[in-house]
Structures are given as structure tokens and as C-alpha cells.
Amino acid sequence: MATAFAGVAPPRDDEFAQASVHVAALRRLARDPAAVIGAAIVAVVAVCAIFAPLITRVDPNAQDLTATLIPPMWIAGGNHAHVLGTDNLGRDLLTRIIWGSRVSAIVGLSVVAIGGTIGVTAGLVAGYRRGWVDAVIARITDVQLAFPLVLLAVAIVAVVGPGLLTVIAAIGLTSWVQYVRVVRAETMSLREREFVAAAEAAGATSRRIIARHLLPNVGSAVIVLGTFEIARAIVFESSLSFLGLGVPPTTPSWGGMLADGRQYLDTAWWTALFPGLAIMVAVMGVNLLGDGLRDALDPAAVN
């Protein structure tokens, strides 16, 4: 084989195997209709979040007090200028929903980045090193799991004061434990495998073993967990915003819109219905994608 690719370095066996594993996983994903739908929804939300100023022509905070609580356009009294109607301050609902995807996307991704980095590192170190490091990390996660962290996060946000950063920090705080549990368990079984023993025999440092040999092997578990954590973060953020503890009211967010709409439930149901639908569809998209990824990355686990 090597002669056929004269002049080109032949792919190392492990690279080759990994690439094909990933391609096969992607193929399986593309054949799973639910996962494709999920991916499409996620893509739409991502496009909305990135290109919000280009998609909408109206300022999401532009108030029009002469046009408050206008119903959606397909209902008597609605018009084409406001496809999904307006809220109590005459702000266009569709515009605000599109802009609201930004908060959800930012919170979802940052929480996973923070929680994932801390959790995966802690899990790898605890699982590989064992000993007192493991004992300490395991004890901390036990405490976190037994404790109603959500309450603490809510209390922190309430006391420190609402804001995007506070929300991200508070949700991130509740999220890393999950990664530790999963990664630590995986690592503990991986460290007994031959390739780790081989790397140790070859004199690799623990840092290298963790980064080059263990990390890639826990990758798929982390990706699947990360997807579900994005969904959880989106719901959590909207719950905080709904309670008035999320992002400031001037920033359009789905949870905040729902909180506004709640007061007009009896006269203008659309102000509460559509932001909630946006949350549900987005979360469902992420969950569908996560389910699909889990099945695609671990074909043996499908029953």
C-alpha cells in the first residue's frame, strides 16, 4: 500500500481507523430521519442566532404603542406587518423570537464549554490517577448530586443580580458534575486496556496519556452528553428569565417573552404561545440530534 502512495506519508493506522469510524457514524446519522430533523432544527436556530440582524428589518425593541397586542396575521385583526402579532408594547413577536435565539444559543454553548471543560478534565484525571485526587473529586460530585444545585443557582442569580454572565456561570456550575460521572467511569475502564499499558511502557507521561490516548476515547460519550446539556441549559435559562432572574428585559429572550405574555394570557394568548413553542421546538431539535448521535456513535447500544 505504501508504495502506491509514493511521496505521500501513508496514514497512520490509528488515524485511518478513526476517520472511518467517524465517517461511518455520520452515515448512520444521516440515515436516521429523527436525527436529520433534529439537525435541521438546530441549523435553523443557529442561522437565526447568527444572522438575526439580516433576517429581520425591525428593531426587536422597537415599541409601537398604537399597535399593541395585535393578533397573528391569520386571525381577524391581524396584519402582514406582524406575522405572529405584537406584544403589550407593540413589539413584533416574530422579530423578538428570532433575536431571542441568540440568548439561547449563547447560553447553551457557553454552558457546555464551561461545564464540559471542567467536567471532562476532572473526570479524566480522577479516573486515570485514582488515589486521593479521585477521592476528593468523587466526594465533591457526591455532594453536588445530593444537593439541589438548581436552587443554589437560582439563589446566586437572584442575589448577584441578573445578567447573561451570571446566568451562564450559574448554569455552568450545575452542569459539570454530569461530565465527571460519565468521563470518570469511562476512563476507569479504559485505563485497564492494553493501549494504555503500551503507552505507559513506552514511557509516556500521564499528561500525554490523558490528552492523546484517553481523551479521544471518551469523545463520543462527551459529545452525546454535551448535546443533552445544551438542551438542559436552554430550558434552564428560559426558566430563569421567566422568573425574572435571567437576562435583562431589554434583551429579547424566549423565557422573558413568556413572562411578559403570561399577564395577557386571557386576552392575547399568542404572546405566551409562540415564545414557548420556540423553546420547545429548539429543545426538541437538540434532543433529537442527541438521541441520533448516541445511536450513531455507539451502534452496539441500540436495542
Binding site: P148, A272, I279, V283
Partner: protein, 308 residues
């Protein structure tokens, strides 16, 4: 517990604001008054002094004085506990019973339309934000009212009862919507776990043996299958308990339920540290206690587990 209390206390203390915040904007209250209040409430002492004073009181069963309600914290919490226990107890039982039944049905009839219906329902239940679901139920049952089968259904959307005297029917009517809202997410989770755990059990040898011995189908499923499939579910139930308390905060706030969750939510807005601490300590205690119960359940479900 001790560790939890230290963490909680320091975070709450480090935060800006405090029980005196409402007075800061009041022009009739001078700086001197603030200082005097601060001194009287012991807020000018170092954090660790405040912590040990608080801890010493807690050990003696005194959780302090609620600054926003002007009543002892323990009193405030105890007053609202029955309402919360009523709501959470119902939601908890409903979610376990419904979740387990759904799980068994969809595992035993795998890939039937019933299975698809239940898994789809579970999927929606997991993706739906509770508070939005609550609002939509309020819209459907209280604002608009649902007409079906010739009847017009309408359910109360707020409070625990509309009468001062106790009336079971009235209380039950008020329970329906909050319990549905609170249990939905848990039904979804439990039924998913129950389904996969039951599917695993169904494939085991002892199930086949039992069926081969001539034990009836129902008995095999319920006696041999259910008991074994429940073991992993117990862990999940114990792990989701904190979520039940968190869900109760939102549910109680939306449905104006006079329980501990709403007390906590109001205390948040008032910077009422004593109530926040008291409530969170109580919840941590309950969660740890329930984890202990879960461990005991294991021993009952799985005789191989021995505690020495």
C-alpha cells in the same frame, strides 16, 4: 451537610445587597439609622462570626428570623410545608406509577403503536418547558375552558382551595393542573428508563425460565420482571429528587400555590437570607434522607446487596 451549609452561607454573604437594601433608597432613613440597624442585626460582624452564630442557633433548632415576613423562619417554613408536601407527594406518586406503567407497557409491546405513542409522549415531556406547559394548561382549562364529550371542563388555575372550609372535591380540583405540570417531566424520564431497563430484563435467562415453567405471562412480567427492572429506576428517582423541589418552585409560583417554593421565590426578591438558608438546608436534608431511603429500597429489591 456541614460542607453544604458553609458553601451556601459564604456565597450568600459574598453577594451584594442584603436585607437592608430596601432601606437604602428611603430618604427618611439616614446613614446612621442604617448603621444602627446593621449593628442590631449583627450584620457588621465578620462573616465567620455570623456563620458560627447561625450554626449554633441551627443546632438548637432555631433557623433565625425572617426579615421580610417578621416571623421565625422555622414557623414560615412549617406553615407552608403541608401545601408543598400535598403537591409534591401527589406529583411524585403520579409520576412513579404512570412512569412505571408506561415503561412496562412500551417495553412489553415493543415497536407497537402504543410503544411509539408513549415514547413520543416521553420525548415531548422531556423537551417541554414546565412553565410554558403550565401556562398553556391554564389557558386551555381556566381561561378558555375545554369542551369535549358534551361537557365543558374548567379547572381552577390558582390557589389551593376556593373555600375556607375543607372540601375534598374542591381541593382535588385545585390539585389537578399543578400535579400534571409537576409530574410531566418526571413521567417522561421514568418511563424512558423503565422501558430500557425492562427491555434488558425481558431478554434475561431467568425470564425465559419462568415462562418455561408455565408461570402466566402477567405474573412473569410483574413478579420477575418488574422487581428486577425497578433496581436502576430507584437510582434515577433518587437523583431526580432535587429537580422535584426546583420544579415545585416554578409550579407553585405559576399556580399561586401557598407552599415552600413560593416562600423561597419571594425570599429571593427580598434578600431574606435566613429564609433562603433555612429552606435550602431543609431541602438538602430531605434529599440526603431520601437517598438513604433509596439505598434501603435496593436491599429490599435486590437481596444480593448487603450492608455491613
Amino acid at each position: 451537610m456541614l460542607l453544604v451549609s458553609v458553601v451556601l452561607f459564604s456565597i450568600l454573604q459574598a453577594a451584594p445587597g442584603g436585607p437592608l437594601t430596601p432601606y437604602l433608597q428611603n430618604p427618611h432613613i439616614t446613614q446612621a439609622d442604617i448603621e444602627r440597624l446593621r449593628h442590631n442585626l449583627g450584620l457588621d460582624q465578620p462573616v465567620y462570626v455570623q456563620y458560627f452564630k447561625w450554626l449554633w442557633q441551627v443546632v438548637r433548632g432555631d433557623f433565625g428570623w425572617s426579615t421580610s415576613n417578621s416571623e421565625p423562619v422555622i414557623q414560615a417554613i412549617l406553615d407552608r410545608m403541608p401545601a408543598t408536601l400535598e403537591l409534591m407527594g401527589c406529583a411524585f406518586s403520579v409520576s412513579i406509577v404512570v412512569g412505571v406503567v408506561f415503561g412496562i407497557v412500551s417495553a412489553v409491546r415493543q415497536y407497537s403503536w402504543l410503544d411509539y405513542l408513549i415514547t413520543t409522549f416521553a420525548f415531548f415531556g422531556q423537551s417541554m418547558p414546565v412553565f410554558w406547559f403550565a401556562l398553556m394548561l391554564q389557558l386551555a382549562f381556566s381561561v378558555v375552558g375545554v369542551t369535549a364529550f358534551g361537557y365543558h371542563f374548567s379547572l381552577p388555575s390558582a390557589g389551593i382551595s376556593s373555600l375556607d372550609t375543607f372540601d375534598l372535591g374542591d381541593r382535588l380540583q385545585h390539585l389537578v393542573l399543578p400535579v400534571i405540570v409537576l409530574s410531566l417531566a418526571f413521567i417522561a424520564q421514568y418511563s424512558r428508563f423503565m422501558r430500557s431497563s425492562m427491555l434488558e430484563v425481558l431478554r434475561t435467562d431467568y425470564m425465559r425460565t419462568a415462562a418455561a415453567k408455565g408461570v402466566s405471562h402477567t405474573a412473569v412480567i410483574l413478579k420477575h420482571g418488574l422487581k428486577n427492572a425497578l433496581i436502576p429506576l430507584v437510582t434515577i428517582i433518587a437523583l431526580t429528587l432535587p429537580g422535584l423541589f426546583a420544579g415545585a418552585i416554578i409550579t407553585e409560583t405559576i399556580f399561586a400555590w401557598p407552599g415552600m417554593g413560593r416562600l423561597f421565590y419571594n425570599a429571593l426578591g427580598q434578600f431574606d437570607f435566613a429564609v433562603l438558608m433555612g429552606y435550602m438546608m431543609l431541602v438538602s436534608f430531605l434529599v440526603i434522607f431520601c437517598n438513604l431511603l433509596a439505598d434501603l429500597c435496593y436491599a429490599w429489591l435486590d437481596p444480593r446487596v448487603k450492608y455491613t
